[in-house]
Symmetry: C2
Subunit: 226 residues, 2 copies
Amino acid sequence: MEEDVKEGASDKYSLRGRVFSRLREDILNGKYEEGIELREIAIGEELGVSRTPVREAFRQLELEGLIRIIPNKGAYVVGISDKDVRDIYILRSRLEGLAARWAVDHITQEQMEEMEENVYLAKFHTEKGHLEQMFELDNRFHELLYEASGSKILEHQLKDYHQYVLRIRKKTLSSAKRGPQSNLEHEAILEAIKNRNPDDAERLANEHMINAYKNMLDKGLIKPEE
Amino acid sequence: MEEDVKEGASDKYSLRGRVFSRLREDILNGKYEEGIELREIAIGEELGVSRTPVREAFRQLELEGLIRIIPNKGAYVVGISDKDVRDIYILRSRLEGLAARWAVDHITQEQMEEMEENVYLAKFHTEKGHLEQMFELDNRFHELLYEASGSKILEHQLKDYHQYVLRIRKKTLSSAKRGPQSNLEHEAILEAIKNRNPDDAERLANEHMINAYKNMLDKGLIKPEE
DNA sequence: CCTTGTATTATTGTATACAATTGATTCGGC
DNA sequence: GCCGAATCAATTGTATACAATAATACAAGG
């Protein structure tokens, strides 16, 4: 079932990898608030490891922009500002459009089938109001799109952003209105890819992300402009 | 003269930071070829440090995608494939367009002045055939554009890609034809920003990158398609 | 009372020691 | 001679010891 072929840098079987994943999750989920100082020893004790793997994880988290390390001083959690979220959504809207365009030429039969199943299941769970499943399916739809683009670079980039705004996204779908609308948009993107229409695919994926963005604004999850 | 205000993760005063910068440079410059195994002890001895800072640098290099670490086995230099370069140029063309668009509203007086100076100097050094200066000025022009976008996220992303294709880019400008043409395009982008014309700015920056891309193809620096 | 310098302490930076894993080599059996 | 298991060497993974740095507390002098 090879689940972890391309584990990138997470490597869940080493202590460092586990520390890294755990800290990232905790930061993104808000366990460690913005500005909090992370101490190597404290984190190490909490997770039952020594400072070495913790330090290596810190260095990676810094590169991901989740913490800021001030030499000889400490590691501080960096928050995501509303502006960051806005910027990421604009970037994503453009890049997801590109991903959809490329997917037209690169999607595999297997990916196409999973996407169809995804859209179908999403409709079902949305009607039933199963929030957790809706969230997971939405995640998966976008990941599929990234993978289908056939570009490691683009896929990696979009997954990064996707992960980065996870905190916000968890709140977004739990809306009675956005859920069904989002599903329809997914379906339209899928149709455009199936019909081998790159222009439509790009435009629809682009609009889909813009709509998600507007939805967040309307709900007051982030504030518009500075 | 504060040269290193926002040193990101490089931090040139710690051993780890120096090892990181050095290794990245060496990899991008081709000192360590694709597939080469990097041994912690060997690198440490070469740079006169112990394994600890080397290991931390390795973890960061992996996150940057420059090496691949196989647990309990080794660290291997990852090459940039031609497809990666092509993808990055397409992404850059879109994102640089966005940066130019945003720069229209966010560029500071200071940045504008440096950009004007940059364009002026570039013309001079191109006429004289000073390759090293041309390269540096080209670098700086793009960095300025990223900074002027007013978006940390976009700036970070574009600088990453910029750095990533450095190896290829060094060869590109050393062409009698592309140098002057590139300068003209820079000037046009600058004009559009100065005239507060976001559509032109975006289109010109977008085209600039596409042209750079085509230039590489024409020169046979990378091969087209797979 | 405030400022300044110093001693103390806590924390990070680096080096090294030890454990675990991998890959190769050797040796025995067939 | 060939295959496989045991052994050994080399390398990475982790823990810990030590060094350097920065924050804090506090006392002396103004």
